[in-house]
């Protein structure tokens, strides 16, 4: 089981500057735990109070995970996950 995770510039400090890493998990939640195990600190940048941060977008195979069940979104071998911080402000 290998899932490619694309990492945005701002979070590459956690991945040794790699744009893309592989991780495992049958749900997004499990995948993020696996990411954390290898890239300590990254989970806190994605999750706040047990839910995805409001201004972090995560996509599975180009679909926003908010439409796929959020942290419970199912994953399978070969899926591609993209993380992008929202471009937003006031």
């Amino acid at each position: 089981m290998a899932i490619e995770v694309r990492i945005p510039t701002i979070l590459r400090t956690y991945t040794g500057d790699q744009k893309s890493v592989t991780a495992e998990g049958t749900t997004l939640s499990a995948l993020i735990d696996d990411l954390e195990a290898n890239h300590s600190g990254i989970k806190d940048r994605l999750i706040d109070n047990g839910d995805l941060r409001r201004f972090v977008n995560v996509y599975v195979n180009d679909e926003d995970v908010r439409f796929l069940g959020g942290l419970e979104a199912p994953l399978k071998d070969g899926d591609q996950v993209v993380v992008l911080p929202a471009v937003a402000g006031g």
Binding site: P8, T9, I10, F55, N57, Y59, D62, D64, R66, V82, L84, P85, A86, V87, A88, G89, G90
Partner: protein, 141 residues
């Protein structure tokens, strides 16, 4: 310092005036590492608000994929303020996530949709620290 060609400057101002009183937003992409603001991409403000802007999440993914394919990065990220000065708000600072980009703020508070000068300023926002920078307008990059 931000170097910007006049046509791009004019297009950003026109976009801000057109969308007033809502905030307008977009980027200027350029070759990765070049710091050249070459390709203007107007974005839809999914918030459709006079006090907030956010790129639509689907559009955002499409934009970043496109830049990736073209080996580009966001050189400028711009948005307008429609009732306040062209200075990053606390929200702007908190959500800024491209430390390599020039954050351009345009204020349309004075003339709204009409002709007339706007405030047009540029900043770096890194780790919540805002520093203003000069803008050099040129005929061609």
């Amino acid at each position: 310092m931000l170097r910007l060609d006049r046509a791009t400057y004019d297009a950003i101002v026109a976009h801000a005036k057109r969308d007033h009183p809502d905030e307008a937003c977009g980027i200027v992409a350029g070759p990765a590492g070049s710091d050249r603001a070459e390709r203007l991409v107007e974005m839809v403000n999914a918030a459709g608000s006079p006090t907030f802007y956010e790129f639509d999440s689907t559009d955002l993914l499409k934009l970043y994929r496109e830049m990736d394919d073209r080996d580009e990065e966001p050189v400028v990220i711009y948005h307008s303020h429609t009732a306040t000065e062209a200075y990053p708000s606390r929200t702007d600072t908190g959500l800024a996530s491209e430390p390599g980009a020039h954050y351009v703020l345009v204020s349309t508070r004075e003339h709204g949709n009409n002709d007339g000068p706007v405030e047009f300023r540029s900043y770096r926002i890194v780790d919540g620290e805002v520093s203003e920078e000069e803008i050099e307008l040129v005929d061609e990059l």
